[in-house]
Symmetry: C2
Subunit: 212 residues, 2 copies
């Protein structure tokens, strides 16, 4: 599949068919994804593929209260989103049917493999994610290439201790995301809504749009 | 360009030619990259393209001490890396010639657009990066597609206050990465070294390799 097409049509999928994704399809995606950049070639990312019905049900139960809290803030208007109301409602459907998604992938990362540089600035640290989420994005693209859809979510991270115990995640590894994976019930998006380049790229300082 | 080939040959480039990357080539990459996933379609990522010689020099001066500290730890063996010694030496060359890279892109992110879920776990938070680094990875792939190489680095984030002042980054936005961008002096990598799928994918719990 051509790269631009893959990037432009890899949206968050919230409706899946019941068909399971074959192991060899997942394998091909993991095989491509591992070439993502990460600091010092320490390769911190590990993947746990959860297809066991009971475990998916438990993950969904842990996820739902965090979605309900987030959803309430969005509906009340106390949490800003760029998503349109229909998208929020489909995300609500997704949260209530998470256990039915064929495959849930818990993304783990080895803490020793991460080298944060923004943890002493007195603000939320994000840089640890630079050695994790490029590889996660590679996976979503490599799945898309094979006709497999996904949704990258992070609400479950708040329940890391419970997830750690359920999936025997060893000390020294954290949970960084939950990826829902399966075949899309409604196809792939043809037109994702994003800000134009004119509004998001600057030249030499933040006050000078590059393409205005 | 075919997606798998792009992912497998987008390595960290540490040697660049002097040729500048045309604005329209950068624009095409930004245009593809913006379709990356991020929470609530809040699209927090902004890009500052720095090509001004004095500003690049100053960014390189800010970067170098952090590299020197990191490099010393690697050489002493107090910082573990998976990279081979030759790669560490090329990274050292890169750090000392950062100002000569044709384009440096400072990746910014709007804090209000980030929804961390792991900041109350008593460990380093990484989840904010889930709304930033997938889009950054899209950019490196979209550049690669056009024959442009890059290096994703995060050491400069430690100097965020100085970078903020120099580039007029407003309150509410953070710096999340520095991307070196240009044409590769030594071509693209043919074989990046990564752990095999057998070692990094598990089924239903972390103790059970999926493809062993």
């Amino acid at each position: 599949m051509e790269l631009s097409e893959a990037m432009r049509s890899t949206g968050t999928c919230r409706y899946y068919t019941d068909e399971q994704v074959p192991d060899d399809v997942l394998r091909a995606a993991f095989d491509d994804a591992r070439f993502g950049p990460q600091g010092g070639n320490r390769q911190p990312v590990r993947w746990i593929v959860v297809q066991d019905a009971e475990k998916k049900k438990r993950l969904a139960e842990l996820y739902l209260p965090y979605w309900e809290g987030y959803y309430a803030m969005v509906v009340e208007g106390t949490k800003a989103v760029g998503a349109v109301p229909a998208t929020v409602e489909s995300a609500n459907h997704f949260a209530h049917h998470l256990a039915e998604v064929p495959t849930l992938i818990v993304v783990c990362a080895e803490m020793d493999g991460i080298h944060p540089t923004d943890h002493e600035l007195g603000r939320l640290s994000v840089v640890g994610g630079a050695s994790i989420y490029p590889t996660v994005q590679n996976l979503t693209l490599a799945l898309r290439q094979q006709g497999v859809a996904s949704a990258l979510t992070t609400l479950l991270c708040a329940e890391e201790p419970a997830v750690r115990e359920m999936l025997s995640i060893p000390d020294g590894f954290i949970t960084a995301a939950l990826l829902a994976v399966g075949y899309p019930a409604k196809g792939f998006p043809r037109k994702l809504t994003r800000s134009p380049v004119e509004e998001i790229v600057f030249r030499d300082d933040f006050a000078t749009p590059m393409y205005a």
